[in-house]
Amino acid sequence: MSISSDPDLLVLWYWTRSINPNLLDQAARQIPDSTKRLRADVVGGNYDSKLRTSLAGGAYIPDIAGVNSNCSLYFPNEERFVDLNPLGGSELKSQFYDWKWQLGTTPKGRMCFWPMDTGPTGLYYRNDLFAKAGLPSDPDALGEAIKTWDGYLDVGTQLRKKLDIALDINAGAVFGCYLNSSEERYFDRQDRPIFSQSGSAVRKAWDLAVQAAKLGVTGNLQTSNDQNAGWSSGRVAGHLEAVWWGPILADTAPDTKGKWRLANQPVKPGNSGGSFLMVPTTSKDPQAAFDFIKWLTNAENQAKTFNTIQLFPSTPASFTGDTLKSDNSFYGGQEYQTFFRKAAEQVPITYVSPYENLCAPFGSELTNVETAGKDPNQAWDDAVAAVDQVLHKRGLV
């Protein structure tokens, strides 16, 4: 059952700053190449639980809905969503970054979660502090110095030694960034856990993060107030994060304008965040819903969205021509948008399992190592045991 009974009105659910409001205004009058109109409802609070509630109740389900980077959470119930490939989706596949397209494709190969924006990652760093520490401060030179994670730890150690400042906020940030740039994550494509196998990506990320904490490369800042104060006071000289973090940083630390730069992160960039659109099977007109989605995410409109609310396109064609505008003054004139465009081209294809949210103990045990000096091996064993216990209860192992 749909929300609205008006046959010409499609209802979209999204959350603030996830879709360009100008385009929604236009679709509210008429969806281009369609006879339908769109009503966009901002849903606040815990978005996923509200969407799940309407799906579980089988009532008041939107005709189109935004989903965040956790779209795989809906994979076990993929039959509730329309496969967009037969509606004309498959023809457009080549226009999108392949890794983003794969993230929205279900294990059965259906395209249920259509790509919106993306989150290619890199190293944000304070050019002035790096120069002061006698470290390479030019983006290319620094990128060369931190080509490997060993190089990254080395640079961080020197920052700690010379200026007594951290390169990143906490071990969790390094752990997350490593996994986000890895092909392998917690589970394989059949949702079998692989984190406890020897040499697993999760274990490598763990060892790296533990090492970073031990060497003082990370600053043991666990609350957002501490973290923000770290960046604005210069006691943290960098952060590994996605493109969408730039505007947040500019808001957090306006006094540091012009002192930040972007360097390639070790090994290769990853993806953090980025959302999708889906059409529930109850949608009153899936074809019209798809027409809207196709129009909203075409290269030209994604460029407009980047110019309005800085959401990074999932279509490489958005970068051709001069449509994309960005203010580079926060980065001392370095081409912000070009940097992340190059990063987006190298993001690996990966599989995010619906059950990754059950793996939270790895993050909390890592925090125990950093804050309380818990023995890393004990912490690892405890994390594996805690996750195994939950997976067992859910019948996943």
């Binding site: 119930n77 600053g219 107030n225 501490d226 949210n357 993050g363 125990n368 804050t371």
Partner: protein, 364 residues
């Protein structure tokens, strides 16, 4: 409420007169003839059925299932409860809840009583203080959390800056086990001390002033008056605040939730080392981050059992005190006190109704 019922003289006579009423005719009138009355009270009962009773009953059903919120319900019998008793994170949350409850409630009630006692003396600007005490209670908790996390911030906080200035070492308030518990307890104390002080103040105002005057004439000090007269006379009010604080303390959720934020990931819930993970917060994480509604319901019912046990202890404490009055085993000094208490019964019951009234005024 139990306290006021037992304390109010004369309640026992009313039911007796009811029972004597020989009006059998009235009772046999058909239900149908009362329909306007039933319609009049229906809105509340319908809303209660839909939003109160149904969720409660459904959560019992859910606690015997495995459900992710979308897929079909799968009955698993007692598996959720079996998991619960051996889940170390659940027991951590129980211990956290009880510890935070104790270290917040005891100082809070004592401070509130002290503040009410001082306010009750003839000082100027009482109205100002009463408003000032109440403001923390109506301030948005999110704003409070932002301020508290700045004040208690590990490396940039006001308190740690002050400690450094005094030559002391920084305390990791928001990343160590006891630091987190103390911070949450301080938030609770800050928020509810004024509220409880107002209730005590209302209670104090109905204590006859001649008791104080007599004590003063006999040369009692303020401390003696506080411990020998004020506290004994306020016992029912103190028990009332203890019960409301117990209810609040066992269902503590918002403070740790906004302090550490569960928006980003489930792993940050309750802060480092799960030190601020309370029972209700753990339930919330299971339901809305892990989408394990069956287990979350089982946690809710475990909390119900725990609350029932605590309520029973409260009830026993209360009943034992009342029994002591006429008990032959009561030692001499207690009997003397009991006699004094009997004299002040009327005063006590007034204090309780006054405190209830304040509470209702505040609520509205």
């Amino acid at each position: 409420m139990a306290i006021s019922e037992s304390a109010r003289p004369g309640t026992a006579t009313r039911p007796a007169s009811f029972a004597e009423a020989p009006d059998g005719e009235r009772r046999r009138r058909p239900l149908r003839s009362y329909w306007p009355q039933y319609v009049a009270v229906a809105p509340f009962y319908i809303l209660f059925l839909v939003f109160g009773l149904f969720p409660v009953v459904f959560s019992v059903v859910l606690s015997f299932t495995q459900w992710d919120g979308i897929s079909k319900l799968k009955f698993v019998g007692l598996a959720q409860y079996a998991f619960l008793v051996q889940d170390p994170r659940f027991w951590t949350s129980v211990a956290n809840t009880l510890i935070i409850w104790v270290i917040s409630t005891l100082p809070m009630l004592f401070l509130a009583l002290l503040m009410a006692f001082i306010l009750h003396q003839n000082i100027r600007g009482k109205g100002f203080y009463r408003v000032a005490f109440f403001i923390p209670n109506v301030t948005s908790l999110v704003a409070v959390a932002v301020v508290f996390s700045s004040v208690f911030s590990d490396s940039f906080g006001l308190i740690n800056n002050a400690l450094t200035a005094l030559g002391a070492a920084n305390i990791p308030w928001l990343s160590s086990d006891w630091g987190i518990k103390v911070t949450i307890a301080v938030m609770v104390i800050w928020r509810y001390t004024g509220y409880n002080a107002i209730i005590y103040l209302a209670g104090l105002q109905s204590v006859p002033t001649d008791l104080y005057e007599a004590a003063r004439v006999d040369g009692a000090s303020s401390t003696q008056i506080f411990f020998r007269i004020t506290i004994p006379l306020l016992r029912p009010v103190i028990l009332f605040t203890l019960i409301t604080s117990t209810i609040g303390g066992l269902s503590l959720f918002t403070e740790p939730q906004v302090l550490f934020g569960t928006g980003a990931s489930a792993s940050s819930a309750g802060g480092p080392g799960d030190a601020g993970l309370t029972i209700v917060l753990y339930q919330y994480v299971q339901a809305f981050f892990n989408f394990d509604f069956g287990y979350a319901s089982a946690i809710a019912w475990a909390l119900f059992v725990l609350s029932a046990v605590v309520a029973f202890i409260n009830f026993r404490l209360l009943r034992d005190r009342d029994d002591a009055m006429g008990d032959r085993k009561v030692p001499m000094f207690q009997r003397r006190r009991a006699a004094a208490r009997a004299r002040s019964r009327a005063a006590e019951s007034d204090a309780v109704s006054a405190s209830r009234q304040t509470r209702e005024e505040v609520r509205s």
